[in-house]
Subunit: 226 residues, 2 copies
DNA sequence: TTTGGTAGAATAGTATCACTATCATTTAAC
DNA sequence: GTTAAATGATAGTGATACTATTCTACCAAA
């Protein structure tokens, strides 16, 4: 499984390709662990350097700042989801089944076998849930968008939108429903864990997301009814 | 209109009630303007002090830090929306009409006459759209939630959920749909302005949100169909 | 009129943050 | 074995996120 997959990301996100060197991979690995541990606000390159027994200056040779590192990690996640969707929907002709599989993949991607040694996908998922929206809620959104920092997310959104249209070609809001599914898949995990009154689903025993899948399927297919 | 309304917020959000003094009101007023201008990341109490011709230390007597100030402002916004919903749905018996009015209020609250001199509601709305999610995406979420920092948001969500149940008492996900409406109302304004491929609505001429209202009504009533 | 309390201003100080610069050392490539 | 690239070690800078102390102006009770 996952032989030879390589996540390709916008080159402008980094100064030196972290996936190309040992230190780079170590940055990816440990930044995921550290952000999950202390949160993105408290996270910085000095602490990261200490954790991975390297130096601040070395990390700065790979990433311009922690904000771009976050965008990198989040993009990595969405690119990986995109890959899993392609894999899981390959040869599935029925549009409804395709959409069901997409929803399932969005929600518990972490059930899949790990694809790459230096990325703990399950922890990365937690980061995307908790910190993901900070990647694009910034004053620099327009200039960053122009540089193509969010292409990965938009491409994934487009993929989901197409699957939605395949179920019902007359649906007026395919892109909006797609982004809504992406957002809800993560938000309602967060709500279930931290603000349970904002949802009606529960996350049993750590990682049982079946409630959420059921809800997203209900929402999607009800909206797409002809 | 809006005579005598006073937005009451959790006392733990501030050190001294800003609505009680001139300097406090000035902090609210200018922090809204400055966050909108430079974004929450670049915003700090020193710059705020300079802008309002006061001192850093004085501002620190009102708010422990900028994070709590953000929660304060966001809570203020949701409390205000809550008030507007009560006002606008008063004496409206028909559940469907009530829900339509709620959606409309959520989306273009800023059309209302301004309620309080030192708060520019329209600019505050922009802040909630762009920075609002940062209020509850933090490592301290559970302890802050225990202190009741998000009661305002949860109460509003409950209000919307009840209006949803009034339309269809058998609907399984009233709280989830409510939080989804609150999120979408803001997210899709943001998307339309900055990441248009993530939605199918447009925001014409600055503040024409009729597309979004139409979409939210479509989503809601389709989901609530019996 | 005094006294005391409160609001705010002025100023200074500290630890951390977000980098940048320089130079030495290791490693890998030819 | 030489050379260039990658990394480490160390230092420095200006900004950030506060905290502390002192001073002044004003209002209100005694």
């Amino acid at each position: 499984m996952a032989i030879g997959i390589k996540i390709t990301l916008n080159e402008k996100l980094y100064l030196r390709d972290p996936q190309g060197t040992e230190l780079g991979c170590s940055i990816i690995k440990h930044s995921i662990l550290l952000i999950d541990e202390i949160g993105f606000e408290a996270f910085n390159f000095k602490k990261l350097a200490a954790k991975m027994a390297s130096t601040e200056a070395s990390i700065y040779r790979y990433f311009k700042n922690k904000h771009l590192l976050l965008i990198y990690l989040v993009s990595w996640y969405w690119e990986w989801i995109s890959y899993l969707i392609d894999l899981n929907t390959m040869n599935i002709g029925d549009p409804e089944r395709r959409l069901r599989i997409i929803i399932e993949t969005l929600v518990h991607a972490t059930r899949e076998n790990p694809a790459i040694a230096y990325v703990n996908e399950s922890i990365l998922h937690r980061i995307v849930i908790a910190e993901g929206s900070k990647a694009y809620h910034t004053k620099m959104i327009d200039s960053e968008n122009n540089k193509g920092f969010f292409l990965t997310y938009k491409a994934l959104n487009q993929k989901v939108a197409e699957a939605i249209l395949a179920v019902n070609a007359n649906f007026t809001y395919p892109n909006a429903l797609a982004s809504n599914l992406l957002e809800m898949a993560n938000n309602h995990i967060y709500f279930a864990l931290h603000l349970p009154r904002l949802t009606n689903v529960t996350v049993a025993s750590g990682e049982d997301y079946s409630d959420i899948i059921q809800m997203l399927e209900y929402f999607s297919f009800k909206l797409l009814e002809k």
